[in-house]
Every structure is written in C-alpha cells, then in structure tokens.
C-alpha cells in the first residue's frame, strides 16, 4: 500500500484532474514541468535560500514543557507560526512563485480562506514584483480583517467572492474562473493540497520541508528521527501533508488529523468532511466532500476560516479511507478552549486552525513516553478579534 501519489496523479482512488478544457493547457504545462523544475539544482538552491533567509526556516521544533506536563506526554510543537507571514502557507507560495517564474507567468491569482494563503501569495508577488489578485469570500473578509489589510499593504487586489457560502469554496470557484479567463500569462497559486493534479502533489512537496526538518530536529532533541504521532489540522490539508510527508510510508509513525466539527457533527453547521462527506469531485479532483445526495456541494461551517471548506485534499481522502490517518472532529468550543490553553501555558497564541489540532489532547490519551509532534500551522494574530469576542476578554 502506498500513501503517495501514483504516476497518474491519484492517491488510491482519489485525485486526478477534473477540469474544463479551458484549464487544460495551463494544468498540463504545470504537470509536465513541475517535477523537472523542482529537481533542478538551481531551483532547489533558490527555494532553500528563500526559505532560510526570507521565511526564517528551519522553524523550531519546540518542546512544550508545560503543555507536556499537563497532558503527561512529550509534546513538540512544530513552529510554523514563526514563519514570515505567520503560517506554513508561505512554504508553498515561495515554491510556486519560483515555479511561476520558470514558466514565464506575469500575473498571479490565489484564493484564500483565513487570509494566510492570500497574504503569503501577496508577499511572494511583492518579492518578485508580480501582479497579484486574491479571491476571498465576503464572510472571510469580515472575520479575517487583519489579513485583508496586510494583502492591501502588500499591493494585492482583494476581490470578494459573494456567491454560495461566501467562504473558501466560493473564493476557489472565483479564482478558477479568473484562471479560465486568463489562460496564458496567469499562474494560479492554489493554497492547499487540493485542486487538479499536479497541485496536490506539488503543494505537498513544497510543504514537505516541514517533516524533513522534524526528522533531524527530533534526532537532535530525542535521539531519533521518528515521532510516535504527528498531529495536524486539516482544512484542505497542506500543513498536514507537510508534517506527514516523510512519515507517510512508515506506519510506525501514527498520523492524526483534526477536522473542524463546527457547532457539532450533527448540528448542520460543520466542516468535518471525513464524517459528513463522501466521494465526489471538488475543485478539479476526486476526493471526499460534503454534498447533498444530488451531488450539490454543501456549505460548510467552522469558526476557523481556514478549515471552513467542504472537502479535503485527495491525499487525505486516501489516508482516511485506508485508515493510515486517524481523523478526529473538533468543535469550535473545543478548539477555542485549546487555543486559550496554549496561550496560558506556553505563551503562544495559535491560529484557530491550529487550535483544532491542539484540542486533540483533550480527546485522546497518549503515553508518557510518546513523542507527539504537533504542527502549529499558524499564529493567532489574525484571529484576535474572534478569540477576544468568544472569551469576552
């Protein structure tokens, strides 16, 4: 059993490229080139250098002493919150902007939910002097205002998506529409391991730097390269893909995915795709998604904009289906509580997305000697208003 992509662009039965013909040249160009370009030593060098000097990698692997004491296990936080722009998203946008330049693109588009991917894209576009258009759901624009301000500062044009649930799904639709309309000079920087092949694989490879670092950092601190568990939240699944990547085929490393249950699985306001979804096509790939029995994609809900998505990437659909990863649903309330706990115990304000991963410790008991690595995918600066209002601080 392989947990990686096959040469047809599928993870098991999931993946592929279900795209309109208008996107074919763009996606095909990318498909034919991405592995070749990524393998170029020049590309690698430029990518690594930017990750080091600009993004601030390696991100620390921080042993969280007080959190570990509280849950009586050994918890390491992989500090993607310390990356430039405040989340793991920039690993991917750095990679993709270099890819876009290699492919001669002049104009960059992106979708964003929490705004982290939008900011990360606006950032690399400023760095490279490229035009940047970001699509963002109207509701997300309201609940992630700081990130909207940042994108504007960085010179990006933020276009509100007003259809559907006015969140990430709809922003993605709008971005794809833009791409269809601009098939020659535009590269679409997708922000997670979703979309048509080769996006899920390309994004996962750019994010794989995370698990690569975990290996040697754990070696330094624990004397072994393998944790017992890797925990990550899953919106589309890019931070999880990055944190899992080098452990995918090693089943001694147990993988845990935290999904957004919103107000509860049964509440009708949820985004827990593994429980509530089934097979289908979303944004160009076959995966699991939340839908009506007629195949209409349903509107998800999560307090966390970055997890408020009705699907998961095909890699994660496969990990779920095969049982390779354990999926645990976390409600808004559980996540918020876990987020505040991290503030109080470790002095780190996590993104609400990451708080979902943190909430796992209340759901599942680990052994005192278990080494548990948690992907702290982003910082909570963008979420301050939500936290403050929620806790009435």
């Amino acid at each position: 059993m392989s947990y990686n992509i096959n040469n047809k662009g599928y993870y098991g039965e999931f993946g592929g490229a279900f795209i309109p013909e208008m996107l074919y040249p763009n996606v095909e160009e990318l498909r034919q080139n991405y592995l070749k370009v990524m393998a170029e030593p020049e590309f690698q060098k430029e990518f690594d250098k930017l990750l080091k000097d600009y993004v601030g990698r390696p991100s620390p692997l921080y042993f969280a002493k007080r959190l570990s004491a509280k849950y009586n296990t050994k918890i390491y936080l992989k500090r993607e919150d310390l990356n430039h722009t405040g989340a793991h998203k920039i690993n991917n946008t750095i990679g993709q902007i270099l890819m876009a330049k290699r492919l001669g693109k002049q104009r960059i588009i992106a979708e964003t939910g929490a705004g982290q991917h939008g900011v990360a894209t606006a950032t690399v576009c400023a760095l490279m002097g490229l035009e940047c258009i970001v699509y963002m759901g109207e509701i997300d624009i309201a609940r992630q205002a700081p990130n909207v301000a940042r994108m504007k500062m960085l010179g990006a044009t933020v276009i509100p998506a007003v259809s559907g649930s006015k969140t990430l799904k709809d922003a993605t639709n709008e971005a794809i529409r833009d791409w269809i309309n601009n098939p020659v000079d535009t590269h679409y920087i997708i922000g997670s391991v979703v979309g048509p092949h080769p996006y899920p694989d390309m994004v996962a490879r750019f994010q794989a730097v995370v698990s690569k670092e975990i290996q040697w950092q754990l070696k330094e601190q624990e004397g072994k390269t393998k944790p017992d568990y890797v925990i990550a939240c899953v919106g589309g699944g890019s931070n999880a893909a990055g944190a899992y990547y080098h452990f995918l085929e090693d089943t001694n490393v147990k993988l845990i995915a935290a999904e957004a249950a919103g107000k509860g699985i049964q509440s009708g306001e949820s985004a827990a795709t593994s429980v509530l979804g089934n097979e289908g096509i979303i944004h160009g790939s076959k995966s699991l998604l939340m839908q009506t029995k007629d195949g209409q994609i349903t509107e998800p809900y999560s307090i966390s904009a970055g997890l408020d998505y009705p699907g998961i990437g095909p890699m994660h659909a496969h990990l779920y289906k095969t049982g390779r990863a354990e999926f645990i649903s976390i409600t808004d309330d559980e996540a918020m509580k876990a987020g505040l706990e991290l503030c109080k115990l470790e002095g780190i304000i996590p993104a609400i997305e990451s708080s979902h991963a943190l909430a796992i410790f209340e759901q599942k008991t680990f052994k005192p000697n278990d080494v548990v690595v948690l992907s702290l995918s982003g910082r909570g600066d963008k979420d301050l208003e939500t936290y403050i209002n929620y806790f009435n601080l």
Partner: protein
C-alpha cells in the same frame, strides 16, 4: 441515427440555446423547450444546475443558484422531461458538471437520459482522458454523444485527438473564458475560427461563449456549423420569464 448527427447534416447554420433547468421557475423546463423548438431553434442544451459551476460566469451561476433554490434536482429534471419526446423533436443535450452525475451514478444517469430521449451530454469538467478510460462505453451503450470543448489555447494535436474521439460536434469555445463574458468578436477570434475551419475536422464545430445577438451569431457561424447562446438567453428569461421566446429567437436569427 442520433438526432444530433441528423441535425448536423442539415444544410444550415444551427442555433443552439442553453438554459438552466428550473429557472426562472422550477416548472418552466418543458415550456421553455417547447417554445424554443416552436421558435425555430435547432438544438437545446438543458443545464442541470450545480452549486459550484466553475466554468460559468455570473449570469449562469446566478440562474443555477436560483434553480437549486427553486428545488431543481436530477430527479426532478428527469421527471419533468419524462414525456418531452411526445412534443419535442429537436436534439436535446444535458449540460452539467460531473459531480451530480457521479452521485446519481453514471450508468443510471445515462440510462435515464436514454429513456427520456436525450441525445447527448456536455460535461465540462469531465476530461477526455477520464471519459475515454472510464465512461465512453457506458455513454455509447446508451447512445449518448459526449460533446467536448476546444478553446483558442487547445493545441492542434489535442484538437485532432478530441476530433478523433468525438462523435457529433465539437463545442468550440470562442475565447478562453467563462460563459457570458465577451461582447462581440474581434480579430483574434475570427482568426481562430478560420484556423479551426482550415483544420477540416471530421466533426463540425459549434461555437459557444460570447454569442448574444444577430451580429455575433453571424460572425460565429461564418466558418462554423452553428452557435450556442447561453447567458444572453438566461438574461432574457430573467426579464420576461417564458414569454416572448419566439421574439427573442427571431432577433438572433433574423429569419
């Protein structure tokens, strides 16, 4: 012979009309189809609405959202079309995104189409490779023509490949763009129309995207076999409901 192939043999430029089933009212489907045929339209694309129609512009998107709100589902559409062949003879095509069809079951869906008398399918997000590998045999079993798109960016090689797989007509997207976008064709597009015409494909081409009036209809059909109107007709429906369809068609064809 499939009604589409038959129609394509007629010695005229064809006008095909797209509308979203369930819009503006849930039960307008049959009325609209009957009216279109009466108005002299050659072919009809019945849009099965989808929540996330990513190849469509705002007009069709909005009509889809409304249609879903009105209660349109795959089952409802099939029920509405049950007796359509008692009153309508022109080719009928269902245009829809792949996910609703997948959820219905591709075979079940095809069978239902065949029973009703649907002649073909346009599934914009079902790529030709997947079709070939997984669904061709099912569609053929139910005598459904699957219509593929080409765009100005489609390579010559790929156009020939699509032509080889196709078995009816090729849906020639006038410019690479979502529906409802342009207003009149320029030099670039006419060049493209000519280029394709010169390829002497086995399948005739019908031009879609950006046709809204007599002028663009004539431009589009100069070299191609026909043209499809979508967004412009949806706009008409929004204004007049099922009324004045013959008047609308007349001003396009000027016949």
């Amino acid at each position: 012979m499939n009604r589409i192939n038959q129609k394509l043999q007629e010695d005229k430029k064809l006008l095909s009309i797209y509308f979203t089933a369930g819009y503006p009212e849930l039960d307008n489907t049959v009325t609209i189809i009957q009216n279109l045929e009466k108005s002299g339209v050659d072919m009809i694309e019945i849009g099965l609405p989808f929540s996330d129609p990513l190849a469509d512009g705002p007009t069709i998107q909005a009509s889809s959202t409304q249609a879903l709100k009105n209660g349109m589902t795959t089952d409802v559409l099939f029920k509405q079309l049950k007796d359509i062949r008692k009153s309508v003879n022109i080719p009928l095509i269902i245009m829809g995104y792949f996910n609703p069809i997948l959820q219905y079951g591709v075979e079940a869906f095809s069978k239902k189409c065949a029973e009703i008398g649907i002649d073909g399918l346009i599934i914009p997000d079902l790529p030709i490779e997947v079709y070939n590998e997984a669904y061709k045999t099912v569609f053929e079993k139910y005598k459904l023509l699957n219509i593929f798109l080409i765009t100005p960016q489609t390579s010559g090689e790929r156009i020939r490949f699509i032509d080889s797989v196709s078995n009816g007509f090729i849906y020639m997207v006038s410019s690479a763009s979502v529906t409802g976008n342009s207003s009149g064709f320029g030099e670039e597009q006419t060049q493209y129309f000519k280029r394709i015409a010169n390829m002497k494909l086995k399948n005739p081409q019908i031009v879609g995207f950006g046709i809204s009036d007599n002028k663009t209809f004539l431009q589009a059909t100069q070299d191609a076999k026909g043209a499809i109107i979508g967004s412009a007709f949806i706009k008409h429906l929004s204004k007049f409901g099922t009324n004045k369809i013959p008047e609308y068609i007349k001003q396009i064809t000027k016949l």
